[in-house]
Symmetry: C2
Amino acid sequence: MQDQKRVTLKDVARETGLALSTVSNALAGKSLVKPETRAFVLATAERLGYRASIVARSLRAQRSFAFGVLIEDVANPSAAAFVRGVEDVAIGAGYTILLGNTDGDLERQVNAMRTLIDRQVDGLVLISQHLDDERVRSLLSKVPAVLVQRRDARVALDYVGSDNASGLNEALRYVWRIGHRRVGFVTGPLKSSSAQERLAAFRATAAELGFTDPESLIFEGRYSFETGLAAAGFFSSLPDMPSCIFGSNDLNALGLIQGLSERGIRVPRDVSVVGLDDIELAAIKAIDLTTIRLEKRAIGAAAAGLLLKRIDDPDQPMQTLILPTRLVVRGTTAPVDPS
Amino acid sequence: MQDQKRVTLKDVARETGLALSTVSNALAGKSLVKPETRAFVLATAERLGYRASIVARSLRAQRSFAFGVLIEDVANPSAAAFVRGVEDVAIGAGYTILLGNTDGDLERQVNAMRTLIDRQVDGLVLISQHLDDERVRSLLSKVPAVLVQRRDARVALDYVGSDNASGLNEALRYVWRIGHRRVGFVTGPLKSSSAQERLAAFRATAAELGFTDPESLIFEGRYSFETGLAAAGFFSSLPDMPSCIFGSNDLNALGLIQGLSERGIRVPRDVSVVGLDDIELAAIKAIDLTTIRLEKRAIGAAAAGLLLKRIDDPDQPMQTLILPTRLVVRGTTAPVDPS
DNA sequence: TTGTAGGCGTTATCAG
DNA sequence: CTGATAACGCCTACAA
């Protein structure tokens, strides 16, 4: 059960009777080693159970073959999907993932970033925020980094996000087609760029299509179920309720549906509801949420891909990748009652 | 935007005019350094932006101050909650988390374990399986490890799980009290010890309370929504349907509910359903699932705690921690119709 | 083709 | 109290 001593290069050298460097070269597959020597070394290494120490290699190479991934909370399903996407490509490229949860707290994030940099991660994937903080920005200059879902004009970094604008545009056109004219919108936290983008997209399309008084139908909140509940209170108290309401994410939408139903308002009969995200359970019949699907795992994978390229060539121009979204029509939207 | 060169101890030594070792001692807060020297060193280090390299320290100390966490898939919400729990205590103790997804695949798991060990993680949290594999067991002997949720008689390791037996016992007693006598059970994958435990607990309590013919009401499946759907087909085709069915996890239960409803069977009016897990959304009104709650984050935290203790003293006796579960009664269970 | 000699950044030991 | 030196395990010039 104990940690038996590591087998090192030196052990293999001693065992084979060869020099350290020969063993190292043989293991690295360098052509300067005679094939039979190489075979012998390989066999001996295998027999002794030799495995190179990545720690030593990292010190020597001044890089760790690891990525840091910073998120608010892995326990949040969307965040987990991103992480998974990052890992998908990281593993393939021989990288390991160091995970850090920030809980959205600035201090935790700064600490986590410091630790990750102290560990000499070769790159950082930041699915988080606080780009307005000076320390965060300064830390970001110390290591290749890719931003996911949220960006900031002050930081010029590779970025991967989803096409919130066209997603909302598509969905708003859809509800327009089925007759909705008064459409409400629940925002996310407006200091996050994704929430801003979604709100801006709502405004733009609402204006373009000519929805009725959209500005009065915006409820400001966060990406939470509770925000949805509160929004239901707000919208239901309006003299002229919207016939359709958009959440800024699926949790908003689910809270909205529950809040409405608690007030005797039926979805979609009385009000249609649209989410954004397409969480796993959105598809089950008990929920059956019409939503704008985000390809979170693909976004994470794309972020890792960008990071690999950036590490490979730190001076290449910054890239911005916007992945498409897709409207998934399910049971929480219905045509406006012609009555 | 570039990776400016690291400030090392040597730089601080040069800047202060002191010896390397003095600087190191000062930074480490050793009492052998004169307070004013120490203060001077600290100030200079701060000014230069010195941060110790964890990589170098790891090589020297032969430990990495990091935990490896192996799970099937972070994108699975329960797994993510475990990971979060592990991180909660790891961070507090100065450890970083290296994450590995196995997708339940043996080869991936072996590779991930190897990589983690090559990185000299100080301990492993294994929320996974394949303990029947020789290589896995041999790798587990190379590093302190804690098993979570699944164990194997052949591996004597620290273990943290939840009290499946008493959870099911409590829930079965509850449905007995409200009149159910024919109770079905959907199993998880029986090669997993948690699924076995749950099935065994069902059998034991069913026998004890005297449920009607429990053996004929067991449906073997996996921890998936699809299993629930299939189970609905099985149970509904029975000449004498159970009045209550237990899933082995919440996804089972949700699939079951959907499958039953597709066949015109209403929950809980016609059949009661009980889950196990208490996923985030189980509480929303649209789902409102009666379930046996597992404290996943607490389990992860307990695992990390055990690991810390084991690292601190590798020779202490093995520990097994069984965390309590709690029956959460919601809307998918109802008394048997007395008619 | 093989061997020797640093050095990556720390920390621990031991001498001054 | 401070400083020199070695060692952790690996890799890579360069020398033989």
